[in-house]
Symmetry: C2
Subunit: 402 residues, 2 copies
């Protein structure tokens, strides 16, 4: 067991090195694939559009026939199969409908006059190919349209559907077991006896994991002794890919979690130079990762956002390690008393101040209560000793939302 | 039935005026409340922290006794109930544990030397109240901590738990029925016969609705005739708060949806000055809203993002109409051929270009295929006729993700 002081970047890199992407995949229906991580690239097996089709409601014609009143020789709604266009006639055609063989332009219906005898007189200056979408114009057969490792959103699923794909190969869901230690913990809804506090970590952690697409095994509060903690860990390790706990990983002697992890597997304890935050444990029990977050809810929440989210994304098989695109916004606040030894993660919102979007801080940045985290939209990361004056541009890291 | 040309802002305001917030609420357990809209403000009914407690592992003392070696008269782990501190002694105390009556400071264990006889010699320059978190310091009894209308995220649920609250009053889930019309539509996984296309709208729409916290009734593809459309609408109106369909709302004569809505209720058809986009229908069938999106997948997707998302958020009882905080980023592209009559919603990503986060466009901004939407992270909104040069600051509107 080492007891090292690490920077946030060092801790992040160390964790990401150990984040073995989940092996194996499963095939799921499109509607069940939202939020899942794609296991294999998706390649188009057809052209989009599949056939030349009309971009307008109007009339398909041979340009050579333009200028004279023309009879309507067929009617082509979307979904129908046209016959070749007879010379000297037009086809009434609708948006999305296939272009009849021989037609080389579509004139929109607003430029058509239907005569009493049913013939159609077309106006405008039609060009070859006008209002015709060509087969394969948007996606060519064989083109990679979705990359392995990406998390699937609504438009991705619509795109797969448009190619006729009904199922996608996705990484299986990462299973995360969570438990909470500390004899002072009481579940909400129960009366609070003297010296006890409510277990808040369970609620932000389980819902964050769910929002990140993990399957959660929620083991609840484990009694604060070595035997019970070992039993919980062994059970969690047999069923989960990752075990996360809150509390029990600082150097205080009342903490049984580290002894239990060492008995069941191996453990590295760190102090991270971050505020809120500081203690963090990483270990292995069998094939499962163990992550021990600080028991203080604000420290745990911020440590989870800053370090553990990226680890989980990498573990899910996603594109985790890539540089996250962060927004830079001006501070609307002074920061005069920086921590000289630790990076600070200040809870902020983006608000219109003097007509400009600016970063404002929650007044009480203490780590005693989740109020600042619930209020915040994101975090601002400040280097040790960094002061901030209004107008200074700062990186904004958005928080996980439900 | 009117047939009006509206700006995007006009259409948005018109829709939001008609978005009646859902009445009624239901009480749900915290872990089921993620993503739901809070129906009533949440007020703290206790102080946080509930009692004065230690911010450190260390020793609680009376400052008057500082400077001499002191025996340990009690041991106070978190969750225990201390006895009053005997004068001339210290209490061994751990993070989160209640402060014994009479103690007025905590000295951290790193500043303590335990002598051979068990007495403790404390060092440093302790001050009154040092390392003691006061009862009510973070949240005072009676304070509003969560506002009605907010969507509940992980930190909100953790905060409620820390106050002992086990259930929250949330708006019931907005029920949205979706169906799709057009005889050219084929479900993915089925063979595609000539003149047909795959139904992609179902997949981005249903998963977007789910991501936004709606309960979805997915009626699938409805045959393209008046009778079937009327049956589908009547069924949807009896079960859902909102009905959304894709296709059938343009002025083409093959569209039965508008006739069916007019037969079952009332309808307003618009042309919106937006690209992609344009046709949009809003109606009422009984107590249900009807929204008809364009059948073109890109037009439908962008119209949903730009206009319908805000409507649904307001309908859910949430804070929809408030100004959305948008990020402004420099363009890394030229935009030389603007549409002169319609606002354009360009599909973009944020990428590091020359070390700075900039907006890049998908090369093919045609509305034929969802490729641009799947590729994109967000939209950039350009006024009619607006040209863009590299470096120009543009508003970035993020898309719904899974």
């Amino acid at each position: 067991m080492s007891n090292t002081f690490l920077s946030v970047d060092q801790a992040r890199a160390w964790l990401l090195e150990r984040a073995r992407p989940l092996a194996g995949s499963e095939s799921v229906e499109l509607l069940a694939a939202a939020g899942r991580v794609l296991a294999e690239a998706v390649t188009a097996t057809l052209n989009v559009p599949p056939h030349d089709n009309s971009a307008m409601d109007g009339y398909a014609l041979r340009l050579a026939d333009f200028g004279q009143a023309l009879p309507v020789s067929q009617r082509v709604p979307a979904g129908s199969v046209p016959t070749p266009l007879q010379a000297g006639t037009v086809a009434r055609i609708f948006t999305g409908a296939p272009i009849p063989l021989g037609a080389d332009a579509v004139i929109m219906q607003e430029q058509a006059e239907v005569l009493e005898d049913g013939r159609v007189l077309l106006s405008g200056n039609p060009e070859m190919g006008q209002n015709i979408r060509l087969a394969g114009e948007d996606i060519a057969d064989g083109q990679v349209v979705l990359k392995a490792g990406q998390r699937l959103g609504p438009a991705d699923l619509g795109l797969a559907a448009s190619l006729g794909i009904a199922k996608l190969a996705v990484r299986r869901a990462l299973t995360v077991a969570a438990f909470f230690t500390g004899d002072e913990l009481t579940e909400p809804g129960q009366p609070l006896s003297a010296g006890k506090i409510y277990n808040s970590n369970r609620y932000w952690l389980v819902t964050s994991l769910t929002a990140l697409g993990c399957r959660v095994i929620d083991l609840g509060i484990i009694p604060d002794n070595l035997a019970a903690t070992r039993v919980a860990l062994a059970k969690a390790a047999s069923e989960a890919d990752v075990i996360i706990t809150c509390g029990g990983v600082s150097v205080g002697e009342e903490d049984h979690v580290k002894a239990a992890v060492e008995a069941e597997g191996e453990l590295t304890l760190w102090k991270i130079a971050m505020k809120p935050g500081k203690p963090l444990a990483y270990g292995r029990i069998g094939a499962a990762d163990f992550i021990g977050l600080p028991g203080n809810p604000v420290s745990g929440f911020v440590t989870f956002e800053v370090l553990v989210k990226a680890f989980l994304a990498a573990r899910q098989g996603g594109e985790a390690a890539k540089v996250v695109a962060t927004e830079r916004l001006p501070a609307a606040f002074h920061w005069d008393k920086p921590d000289t030894r630790r990076e600070e993660f200040v809870r902020v919102r983006r608000e219109l101040v003097d007509g400009h979007l600016q970063l404002v801080t929650y007044p009480n940045q203490g780590s005693g209560v989740l109020m600042s985290c619930a209020w915040a939209e994101g975090l601002v990361r400040l280097a040790p000793g960094q002061r901030v004056s209004p107008g200074e541009l700062l990186d904004f890291l958005p928080l996980t939302r439900g």
